[in-house]
């Protein structure tokens, strides 16, 4: 009897995010009958979550190494805005995107450098950077959205292959790649080791700082890609595009079982977490809930996720205790 109970508890703690997603889908399917559960709407959810999803994949590299980062939204907004500005300065869109993305990576690495050199938790240095970059972004954009992008970049955020949006295909491909890196490469093993226990990793001969920089580069790159997709979708560079992205990606990751303490996390869980946030946003929109109430809802969701995160460790311990 006890054994069955233990198995059930372990199973529940493993699939909690999948269960939440299912409940949400069923709930909205019943609430907004005939509109929510349609192919068009589901594809639209997948499309909407793709940009956030790519940024969340990036932030998961940082979270797994035990570094919470709240500046992904600012990088996301900066890269789009900066590309649009460079475009207005008659720089071809491809080099403009590359330069902006490099800046995005640079920002992430700078945050990393600050926390390593001055021994400041990344949580803090990234919050400062978020504010700094957001402000900078508004200044260089002259406090308005930057237009004038060439038609050629529309495919990235607005194009479809068959019925599937290009951005979603990109998201799926990146998710598979990230899962591969986490599970099959020694770099993945190092990421988890650094997040699990930095002292142990260092004393085992792992170059901890190098791993942290590499994670920062990847996070910066993925946030930049997400920013470019968003720029293409809105066909403009908006310094306000970041919005609640910084917290949304962390909520998604935590909901998907990536621990805020570092050392644990799965790509499958992460994708589920992103879908939860996406479903919630779209579903609540359909129920005509306004943005402020949605924030309340999402905030509550993050709280629940964090509580589950700290509880699941207890549950696992209970189940494993012989």
């Amino acid at each position: 009897m006890n054994k069955i109970k233990n198995t059930a508890v372990t199973l529940l703690s493993k699939c909690i995010s999948q269960i939440i997603l299912m409940i949400l889908v069923i709930f909205f399917a019943l609430q907004v009958k005939g509109i929510f559960f349609t192919t068009t709407n589901l594809i639209s959810i997948v499309r909407q979550v793709s940009t956030m999803g790519i940024a969340a994949l990036g932030v998961s590299f940082l979270m797994i190494t035990g570094n919470l980062d709240f500046s992904m939204g600012s990088i996301y907004a900066f890269v789009g805005t900066f590309t649009a500005i460079l475009n207005l300065l008659n720089i071809h869109i491809v080099p403009a995107m590359l330069i902006a993305a490099l800046c995005g990576i640079g920002i992430s690495c700078f945050t990393c450098w600050i926390s390593i050199s001055f021994k400041i938790p990344r949580l803090i240095s990234s919050m400062a950077m978020q504010q700094l970059i957001n402000g900078l972004c508004v200044i260089i954009a002259g406090n308005k959205t930057v237009y004038g992008l060439p038609e050629s970049i529309k495919w990235l955020g607005q194009g479809y292959i068959g019925i599937i949006p290009v951005s979603s295909i990109l998201f799926a491909a990146l998710a598979v790649l990230v899962a591969f890196v986490f599970n099959k490469t020694y770099f993945g093993r190092y990421l988890f080791a650094v997040g699990g226990n930095e002292d142990v990793a260092r004393l085992s001969g792992i170059n901890v700082n190098k791993i942290k920089y590499l994670a920062s580069i990847i996070a910066g790159l993925l946030a930049s890609i997400a920013g470019l997709i968003s720029m293409s979708r809105t066909f403009s560079g908006s310094p306000y595009a970041g919005g609640t992205l910084s917290t949304d990606v962390i909520s998604a990751a935590v909901l998907g079982g990536v621990s805020i303490m570092g050392g644990t996390g799965k790509t499958s869980g992460l994708v589920t977490g992103i879908l939860i946030i996406g479903t919630l946003t779209v579903g609540l929109n359909m129920m005509n809930m306004n943005a402020n109430s949605q924030d309340v809802f999402k905030g509550a969701m993050l709280l629940v996720a964090v509580i589950l995160d700290s509880r699941s460790k207890g549950i696992k311990k209970l189940a494993m205790r012989r």
């Binding site: 226990n197 142990v200 004393l203 012989r322």
Partner: protein, 495 residues
């Protein structure tokens, strides 16, 4: 005949899938020091947790002052005069000693704390112990030994009847242990009973009246200390005869110098010069704080070297990071296995190949079957007991955890292996296995450095002993000249 203050009657504790305690029955008399011994996992701490109210026994009862309890709550246990001092201190470093002593139990009227009463009471307690601690000092200024005394004082201040001491001497030097024993003798006279848990058997003969031996959740023996001996206790604890406590050396160290330091300074070490030979076990003796761990972290490049040369295999070594040391074949097994040696929630496999995973990878991709093969080979070789290679290491015993770290360095092909307190917190049977393992390592042509605060362990194991005191190397002793007293004198700074 002293009256009985505590008796366990048929205490049984079941966890899902396991019976941690099986009908434990024994009693404790007033003013008695009772040793509770057994290997790790024998059920000592579970029993103690039943007594302090942390666990509820599944069956049986605990009698305190002629009252029978089905189970105790932590609060009730405290009211009944039960206090425990664990290895990890339960004190606040930034507060003065006096506030630590009366934590949660501040004397006074209403909301006004009677500070003067607190001061005089704590002074009284320290006086009765015969120690000189200023209660107004901040706790963090005290040595670990003094903190332990503060812990005991805290328990005493709460009108204590039964004091539980869990491995109290682990962080203490020999001299400090004497002070602690003196205090135990003094509180004993006052009628306080003590339950004393320790892995160091010689202490039991020094301080205890009676001993209860546990194995696999059962009480396997109860003896008066004056009627038993070390051999018998070990036999009871591990359930078999342990003829040779320290294994016999089958090889001799070679003349080949594998590691040499010359005038090494850094991290508190001062002018350290020594040689390590291939196939040698070199012991580092000293008191806690002598700078041995600090020296080793300089060698392992985890702390900055300020001056001096290190030669590995005759070639100069100037590493900056631990991975440089590992590349040159130097490995370190830290004192704190759980915090610095292992990823506790990761599997046996992951931990064993953590330092060598690149070897099992092509183009960055791990070859899992090759990895598994190696892990299996080393687990067999070192007789690691684990239900599977996927088992998180936190559920393994201390001895098996230590073996995993050794396996990690064996896979990495390190030939200079530094053990920092390799047997701390490991039970007798597993200690023996670790000693065997160290011999196995040197027989394979590796060299071993052992730091240990247990002089007998060094005398039994090492080919040569280096003694450190206050960051300096004060001398060497060869195997034929080993003498515990002489070593102790050297370590205390009396040359």
């Amino acid at each position: 005949m002293a009256k009985t203050v505590l008796s366990f009657k048929d205490i049984t504790k079941e966890f899902p899938g396991v019976r941690a305690l099986k009908g434990i029955t024994f009693s404790l008399k007033e003013g008695e020091v009772l040793a509770l011994i057994g290997e790790n996992g024998a059920g000592k701490s579970t029993l103690i947790k039943c007594l302090t109210g942390a666990y509820e026994p599944s069956f049986g009862e605990i009698c305190l002052q002629n009252k029978a309890f089905r189970h105790l709550s932590p609060k009730l246990a405290k009211q009944m005069g039960i206090g425990a001092v664990y290895q990890e201190f339960n004190l606040v470093p930034d507060l003065p000693v006096v506030e630590n002593i009366f934590m949660g139990n501040l004397p006074g009227k209403g909301i006004i704390v009677d500070y003067a009463a607190m001061l005089s009471l704590s002074k009284e307690i320290f006086n009765s112990f015969g120690v000189d601690i200023d209660p107004r000092m901040e706790l963090k200024q005290l040595s670990p030994a003094m903190m332990q005394i503060v812990e005991i004082a805290k328990a005493i201040a709460q009108n204590l009847k039964i004091l539980i001491l869990d491995e109290p001497t682990a962080p203490l030097t020999t001299k400090e242990t004497e002070i602690l024993f003196d205090i135990i003798r003094k509180i004993k006279v006052k009628g306080v009973s003590v339950i004393y848990i320790s892995h160091r058997l010689e202490e039991i003969f020094q301080i205890c009246d009676r001993v209860v031996v546990m194995r696999d959740g059962e009480k396997v023996g109860e003896r008066l200390v004056c009627e038993t001996d070390r051999q018998e206790l070990i036999r009871l604890m591990i359930g078999r005869e342990l003829t040779n406590y320290f294994p016999q050396r089958r090889t001799c160290p070679t003349k080949e110098v594998i590691l040499k330091t010359q005038g090494l300074w850094g991290n508190g070490s001062r002018d350290i010069t020594f040689e390590l030979h291939r196939g040698e076990i070199l012991g580092f003796a000293g008191l806690v704080g002598a700078g041995r761990t600090e020296l080793m972290s300089v060698l392992f490049c985890d702390a900055k070297r300020e001056a001096g040369d290190v030669l590995v295999n005759g070639k100069p070594f100037n590493g900056k990071h631990p991975w440089h040391a590992i590349q040159r074949g130097i490995a370190l097994l830290p004192e704190d296995r759980k915090q610095k040696g292992l990823l506790m929630d990761k599997s046996v496999s992951v931990n064993i190949t953590l330092s060598s995973i690149k070897k099992f990878s092509r183009f960055g991709i791990i070859n899992f079957s090759l990895e598994k093969e190696f892990v299996r080979i080393y687990c067999d070789k070192l007789a690691v007991k684990t239900p599977s290679l996927e088992q998180p290491v936190q559920y393994l015993s201390g001895g098996n955890q230590q073996k995993l770290i050794v396996a990690k360095w064996m896979v990495t092909d390190c030939d200079i292996i530094i053990f920092d307190e390799p047997t701390r917190g490991i039970d007798v049977g597993a200690k023996h296995e670790i000693y065997e393992l160290i011999h196995q390592l040197v027989e394979e042509g590796r060299s071993v450095i052992i730091i240990s605060s247990d002089f007998e362990e060094l005398i039994g194991l090492a080919d040569r002993i280096a003694v450190m005191s206050e960051g300096e190397l004060v001398g060497f002793a060869d195997k034929k000249d080993y003498d515990k007293e002489v070593l102790l004198d050297m370590a205390s700074g009396k040359r």
